[in-house]
Symmetry: C2
Subunit: 137 residues, 2 copies
């Protein structure tokens, strides 16, 4: 039996948003200890990873990741307490709403059909741009 | 003081998803009594509205909207009990998670900065593709 799940993005005020991409980046920075490593693990360009992190660091009055500039192959990145708190808040919110969604939309899931065929008894809308109207059963 | 809000889409199993666009379409069909009227109110092409509704009607074993094909300017559309239930479930879920998000992310909102300037104390990541590294304060 399939369950309902939610994809979401949290808007913090009117200028900033945090979604699965930025959170995954922070988690991979935490694991690999570097932005380049995180980008590699996420199969994301370094430029894209840098932009996401820059956007996050501009969101708050404190950084979420601090980096040490270094020489050859050097330069590590690590999460600040705020970065840790952001991941924790996002993940616990995610857990809570996935659980809620599964319960909340459960009754509707009983009516889920095969997505390939039209709903049994569905009337066909006039002037279909894609297919001819069929007779109703 | 800004608050956190969530933009989301509910995935029902692996084939179907319902987000703000489809729900708004159902609500406008309910208000205007026709798909063409709903499309007009939403400033959406009739084709696009038709495709969204077709996708919804294929999601379930029962239709969410039934239409009467008609002559000149004719043909009305109205929600089924399932369509009503889908709107109700989506809107009550929306209310619940917006309230939860505002509380959950409240502590982080205290650290929200001006999005135009980098975080105070944020270190600049090496090899910036967009700007030169500045000295840390």
């Amino acid at each position: 039996m399939p369950t309902a799940s939610v994809r979401f993005r949290v808007h913090l005020g009117s200028h900033a948003a945090v979604g699965p991409g930025k959170i995954a980046l922070l988690e991979h920075i935490n694991q690999s200890g570097s932005l380049a490593g995180a980008a590699r693990n996420l199969k994301m360009s370094y430029k894209r990873a840098w932009q996401l992190l820059d956007s996050l660091n501009r969101t708050f009055t404190l950084p979420v990741v601090v980096t040490v500039t270094g020489g050859r192959g050097g330069g590590g990145a690590s999460l600040t307490a705020l970065g840790d708190a952001l991941i924790d808040a996002y993940r616990s919110f995610d857990d809570a709403i996935q659980t809620r969604a599964a319960g909340h939309f459960g009754p509707l899931m009983r009516h889920l059909g095969n997505s390939r065929s039209p709903a049994n008894g569905a009337t066909v809308v006039r002037r279909s741009p894609r297919r001819k109207a069929k007779k109703q059963r």
